[in-house]
């Protein structure tokens, strides 16, 4: 048996409805700001019959419409339509719902227009239509709505969960100016937050750390994780690395830690799939590397949608593709090693083609060349490019890509084929 509570006016409020539902059942669904459905199965001996419970509710919260039915959607429809207390007997759902207007169903505008053009006005008329025709015309959504109109739509409730906040905030008695005692405090709170996350079967992928500094300033930092975690040790290590790399400007007088709760990642790995680094361990390793090479110099390369030569960006990925690629191994291709930044060069041009190049480390006669290949783009931006590229073989030194920048009238060595 399911019960639906529907508030007709501004009172009772959504919080009052939820508080009432929590008193009577651990499983209830909040379908809107003014409607709550409860699973009342097995509560009759403890709470009383539906008539007794419904009377108690309507007396306690005037302006409440209550309906009891064997299916949650029938209870909702009855509570929305009928005033006071309604008890729909099992097996008589279709008769009770029959006179309701079809507009009460959550139909799309297109479906509503079609039904009106057919002369369908009530639940009974909609329920009498052939199911195959409804499926052909409106798809599975139409079939589901027709079953609601017939009172034949048993479904499990989507249990309501309170909005959980995983936060600790505290003012310190004495300012902390050393990393170790600060981490000691943070560790204790992180343990508590992670325990709370695990108890709620949640994890976090974003950790907000706010430090109140001496003098009134605040130091706010956000640690984003590529995969949700609920273990305190790697989170503490990540905070440690961050504080070590970017220490606060003054002693700390207050700390606030907040973890953004998310659903934990669940992966079904295959027995024969290649191994991959453990996400938490990889995140720590990359943070450790970023500490000495710089945050922007470690990650996974991505090629943006542009023709700009050498364009790329580094990102921290949330996962890798461990499925083998289709097709065989590609043939070996000629690699280009890029000089960052490109080397400014002196180039001797003879009969329209470069004949000698000179730059620190590369100096010699050009024995073979291929080009020029003109590329230009982004002319509307300040960093536009416009150049002529040549592939040249410098005697005894290798194969290089050089280019003539047409805007600055200068030659550069872009890289070496290797």
């Amino acid at each position: 048996m399911f019960a639906c509570l529907h508030a007709v006016g501004p009172l009772p409020s959504a919080d009052e409805l939820i508080a009432l539902a929590e008193e009577y059942s651990p499983f209830f669904e909040v379908t809107g700001a003014d409607t709550v459905v409860l699973d009342m199965e097995g509560t009759e001996r403890l709470m009383g019959s539906p008539a007794e419970v419904g009377t108690a509710w309507t007396t306690r919260l005037p302006g409440l419409q209550v309906a009891f039915a064997a299916a949650p959607d029938v209870a909702i429809q009855a509570a929305l339509r009928f005033r006071g207390l309604t008890i729909v007997p099992a097996g008589e759902e279709a008769q009770w719902l029959a006179p309701l207007e079809v507009e009460r169903l959550p139909l799309t505008a297109e479906m509503m227009e079609t039904l009106h053009s057919w002369g369908i006005r009530t639940y009974a008329q909609f329920a009498a239509l052939p199911e195959i025709g409804i499926a052909t015309r409106f798809g599975q959504e139409g079939v589901h709505l027709q079953r609601i109109a017939r009172g034949e739509c048993p479904r499990p409730l989507i249990p309501w969960r309170p909005h959980l906040v995983f936060q600790r905030k505290e003012e310190l008695e004495h300012p902390i100016d050393l990393l170790e005692p600060l981490l000691f405090v943070i560790n204790r709170w992180l343990q508590e937050i992670c325990d709370g996350l695990r108890q709620a079967s949640l994890a976090t992928n974003e950790l907000h750390l706010t430090l109140a500094l001496e003098g009134g300033a605040r130091d706010e930092r956000i640690t984003r994780l590529p995969v949700p975690m609920s273990a305190a040790v790697p989170l503490l290590k990540l905070i440690h690395l961050d504080l070590d790399a970017h220490p606060p400007a003054a002693a700390i007088t207050g700390i606030q830690i907040e973890a953004v709760p998310v659903t934990p990642q669940r992966l079904q790995t295959g027995l024969f799939l290649p191994q991959a680094p453990e996400p938490a361990k990889l995140e720590l390793t990359l943070k450790r590397i970023a500490k000495f090479v710089g945050d922007d110099y470690v990650g996974t390369p991505e090629i943006p949608d542009t023709h700009r030569p050498g364009a790329f960006r580094l990102v921290l990925r949330q996962g890798f593709v461990n499925e083998p690629a289709e097709g065989g191994a590609p043939p070996l291709s000629l690699a280009l090693r890029i000089f960052r930044p490109p080397l400014a060069a002196e180039v001797v041009v003879c009969e329209g083609a470069p004949s000698a190049v000179s730059t620190p480390g590369i100096r010699g006669r050009i024995t073979h060349w291929s080009g020029p290949w003109r590329t230009a783009g982004d002319w509307w931006r300040s960093d536009a490019w416009n150049r002529e590229e040549w592939d040249v073989e410098v005697s005894t030194q290798g194969l290089y890509r050089i280019y003539f920048d047409r805007d600055s009238n200068r030659w550069f060595v872009e890289g070496r084929y290797d």
């Binding site: 453990e278 590397i289 390369p301 990925r317 083998p324 291929s370 073989e393 290797d418």
Partner: protein, 220 residues
């Protein structure tokens, strides 16, 4: 005379067959039997000898098997577009750009190897000056060898001269045989480069002839 237990253990370690994995690069697999897992492979050669082309070929093979790869780029010289054209699955690649600091490169490689889980870790030392590499103690290479042994990870070192000495299980020397520039006089097109890789360890006089095709859109 019977060898001491320590010497026997060392000989057993040296003679222990390494697991190899096929790279799909036929001539390479023919001379090396595939890429050794849990061991150090070193590819060395002069500029434009094809070291980087083979490195990208190995990264492409590993990443396309679904493995996660790491490239420690001491001189920050990887071209992601070129790598993608070579077949490397960029989404399976972790790239560490060390901007010419060899010390950072060794430290990053050490962290990645000890982190574990990678199919292939490449340490690219091609443009690091010789005077800096000569200062790298041999103990680094022993440490790397210890880190990868008994794991499915392959460590590939790419450089101008051999670096890892006795720690490498496979040592290949790269040579550029011919640059293929085709076309009529006055207009040439870079088609590719013919390369040769000679096995220096194990010393078996085997060579692999490979061709690195130019993937530039100009030759399409």
């Amino acid at each position: 005379m019977a060898a001491s237990p320590q010497l026997s253990a060392l000989l057993h370690f040296q003679q222990r067959p390494k697991t190899t994995v096929s790279t799909g690069i036929g001539p390479f697999d023919a001379i090396a039997g595939g890429l050794p897992c849990g061991a150090i492979t070193e590819i060395y050669g002069a500029a434009s000898s094809g070291r980087t082309s083979l490195m990208l070929g190995l990264l492409a093979a590993s990443s396309r098997r679904g493995e996660v790869c790491a490239l420690v780029d001491a001189s920050d010289s990887l071209d992601p577009s070129c790598s993608a054209a070579a077949g490397v699955r960029l989404e399976n690649l972790v790239w560490v750009r060390c901007r010419g600091d060899a010390g950072h490169a060794f430290k990053a490689a050490d962290l990645l190897l000890h982190g574990g889980g990678f199919g292939l870790v490449v340490l690219d030392l091609c443009d690091v000056p010789r005077r800096i590499l000569q200062k790298v103690p041999l103990s680094y290479w022993y440490r790397f060898r210890r880190a990868v042994e008994d794991t499915p990870t392959s460590l590939v070192v790419v450089s101008t001269e051999p670096q890892s000495k006795s720690c490498a299980t496979l040592l290949l020397e790269a040579r550029n045989r011919r640059v293929d520039l085709a076309g009529a006089p006055g207009f040439h097109l870079l088609r590719g480069v013919d390369l040769e890789f000679a096995s220096k360890k194990p010393v078996n006089q085997r060579t692999a002839n490979l061709r690195a095709e130019s993937t530039s859109a100009r030759t399409a």
